[in-house]
Point group: C2
């Protein structure tokens, strides 16, 4: 259009300064499936529906992203009361707000410059919030001590993860930093590694054994990687995204021993720490296990762990709250980290306030306690119910096989795609599971993410589906997936 | 400590995975004076004071950072009412909130998934907010059209600036991307360029002519840079930070012509667009001037302009709201930009909501209009008063010379440092103006940023001081600066 217009006006056509050929080549390599082409098409379909265009469905159901509130989950009343009080402190005089919400808001505002959430905080985060985070971690980990100086508040967990990866980048060619990530993985990792120009080292989770992590597979991946890069870090997501497994304590010990032996910086993505549903499963933090393994490990293994306000029972993604805890980091490096985060001034203060509430919720005896517990329990038990429902229904479909959703917010079932469909996809230059998901979107309005966006063993196909839609809608969605899969299989057989 | 402890336990001392020698070398090069060593010392001093330690002052006054609320500026009531309503929608039933605040909150919530600020937004930002931003720009620029698709909401302006610089990185050695920045500059630019590994090309503002921008100096800087890198972008801050000048329309036209002729991508940092105080000065957006220069320019020159909720009359830094407008960007690059921002999911939603209120404030006839205008006017006229006061008092001091603070929130006076003081500083391995500011902090509790953190012509010394403290405190602060300077000069003469 621009070119045409210029010609019309008789002006010389001039190449842009910034073109696809002259832009940052590492940015071009970035991919992020959770918001990729399938979601763009979902947005288009929603627009077409709203313009009255006829479709074989009446609404698009977004099961592509872990966005609980968008799927109707209600926020925790206490959290929102405190945020409203902090936003508009005039409300501190309003007698309809409970006293504990007021005292919490008062405490947060006192930690803000000029008693306003509109002030910048310290770049590492508000002191009192970091103290509350430290106490939360101590309670969670059965008393293992936590120093508020080791806590950095972040803009969601993503921000902390990218910052830590950035610190680790070093070397060129065969000395380039390599980072081990699970396959399947959450594509923030592959995207960040691509952008930073690091080597992505894939270790495969064992689908046959409930997406478990196998040390021999870690060793294989590491040994191969050592031939062409310098592996420096090992990333773990527990509970797993997209795979929904919850790691056993033994497995975590093995991983820590492996990291110690192989001198790898450990990064533990623990944003789903409250999302554990399966009987016999329990969340163990890497920090706790590390410290219970004794000083040989707790004094040496470098660990960063990440948490967020976006998941668990809160689902407050839009506030972009989060923290990371840094264990055994070299003091000079920590000073560099503090300097680095100062360039962006500070994480959003409402997100910091929310993080504070998450780690310091109403206590027994406080007026909001009962309601808080009721709301939290209700949200988590509905999620547990939906995790089970998803697994059950998907496993009734021939050609779909789904591991138990032990935790997190996703199922990642394996799907059988007929040979003819694979061929048609490849003819179109599409991954077979992208072809499958795109077709499902067009025919049913259900928006899933193809397994290829997360990585999977060659020749296997999957999709990621959140368990977040309300139970009745989830039931409909699962039935539609079932019908679609049967029809698709028939069509291409 | 760690090493000692290991020895005590008889464990083998083992080097860390991540050390200062093996961390990202570009991160080490990053510097950010606004939160540098002087601010760290200020924090220590505050702690020492609170612990009852005796100092020659009773409080630390932070004039180092443009953090209006921390200095006592009050938020706009309407903005905070709407944010409270959006945080806790139960309040929509509260009759004490004005109807226009409620309808604005209602509209924002309707644009959020599940009607909750806790949902992720589109990565580019909430549609309706981007539409409001576009209409705001059209009004501001006298009807020059603005497409909401060209608007990207950001996490403060810093986020947008770093993202744009990132896109521009390309090439190695003599083909490496170079970016022109003013000296003095806001150190976000130098920090981002260091981290990205780009070449920083300095062009000097003319202190003798009120920090004006001179095209011959741009040309000199560019021609020299072309010998060793590939200059691709030109960054302008208007109104200026740290220098407080407001660019004339003619100057902006010259810059645009220069960018067109030399094929440079223009980045206009316009976060102080409402902060114009001096008679005869007026804010002209680069967008408006570009479009009034006719299609030869408006169809070709690539421009990104940046705005934020942190400055102007709002001063809402903690919310990290902002937007950028992208003009004439290549479509493929724009698709890459959209993909890149999707990795971080979305800017904080409360910051997006606040940005919406800034671009769509109460209108005449609405219940909150009069109070909004009253509050905005009061804040801006107090700032204008303080800008004048700062300039006046500083210019009464022999050895300090201060250009008019035409806009923004800072004075950047030149200071004469006696030869003996320079020698003592250099002996200590300190920049002379760092030595000066550190001494002022220790003796008076006033926290300023040395000019060396922003860059300055060799052999000249400055400091940046915000005009944000309340008028009475600012008066005291200015007098203390005066006394300190006189004493310092005497001591080292």
């Amino acid at each position: 259009w621009c070119h045409e217009k210029m010609s019309e006006n008789g002006l010389m056509s001039r190449a842009k300064v910034l073109t696809i050929d002259t832009m940052n080549p590492t940015v071009k390599k970035v991919e992020y499936a959770v918001r990729g082409p399938i979601v763009q098409r979902a947005v288009e379909l929603e627009r077409e529906l709203s313009e009255g265009m006829k479709k074989p469905f009446v609404e698009v159901i977004r099961a592509n992203i872990g966005d609980a509130h968008a799927m109707g989950q209600q926020p925790i009343t206490f959290f929102r009361q405190v945020l409203a009080l902090c936003s508009y402190p005039e409300l501190l005089n309003d007698s309809t707000f409970p006293e504990d919400a007021k005292s919490r808001a008062h405490r947060i505002l006192q930690s803000c410059g000029g008693n306003s959430m509109g002030s910048y905080s310290a770049s590492q985060g508000i002191d009192s919030v970091r103290q509350d985070v430290a106490r939360y971690i101590e309670r969670r980990d059965g008393g293992v001590s936590c120093d508020p100086d080791d806590i950095y508040l972040t803009t969601g967990a993503s921000d902390g993860i990218v910052t830590m990866l950035k610190l680790l980048m070093c070397g060129e060619g065969a000395a380039r930093t390599g980072v081990m990530i699970s396959i399947p993985q959450y594509p923030l990792y592959s995207a960040a590694l691509a952008e930073l120009g690091a080597v992505q080292i894939n270790y495969y989770l064992n689908e046959e054994n409930c997406w478990s992590l196998d040390i021999t597979e870690l060793q294989r991946a590491l040994d191969e990687a050592r031939l062409h890069c310098n592996p420096r870090a090992l990333c773990i997501i527990n509970p797993g995204n997209p795979t929904g497994q919850v790691q056993s304590r033994e497995c975590i010990e093995d991983v820590i021993r492996f990291a110690a032996k192989e001198r790898l910086f450990l990064m533990a993505d623990e944003v789903y720490q409250d999302n554990v549903y399966a009987d016999g499963c329990q969340f163990h933090s890497f920090k706790k296990v590390l410290f219970e393994m004794g000083p040989e490990y707790s004094n040496t293994v470098e660990l960063a762990s990440f948490h967020s306000t976006s998941k668990c029972y809160m689902g407050e993604c839009g506030f972009r709250g989060g923290y990371m805890e840094i264990i055994n980091m070299d003091d000079d490096v920590k000073a560099q980290l503090t300097k680095l985060v100062s360039v962006r001034l500070c994480p959003p203060v409402p997100g910091q306030a929310l993080m504070d509430l998450v780690v310091n919720p109403p206590q027994p005896g406080e007026p909001s306690y009962d309601n808080f517990i009721k709301e939290r329990t209700a949200t988590l038990s509905v999620l547990a119910e939906k995790a089970k429902l998803t697994e059950q229904v998907l496993n009734t479909v021939q050609g779909i096989s789904c591991n138990p959703v032990q935790g997190a917010m996703y199922s990642f079932p394996r799907i059988t795609i007929p040979k003819k469909a694979i061929e048609e996809a490849l003819d179109k230059g599409q991954q077979p599971d992208m072809f499958y998901c795109m077709k499902m979107l067009e025919e049913t309005g259900i928006c899933l993410v193809p397994g290829s966006g997360f990585g999977q063993k060659e020749g296997t196909y999957h999709f990621r589906m959140t368990i977040l839609p309300p139970t009745d809608k989830l039931q409909i969605l699962l039935n539609k997936v079932k019908e679609f899969h049967q029809k698709f299989t028939q069509q291409y057989s």
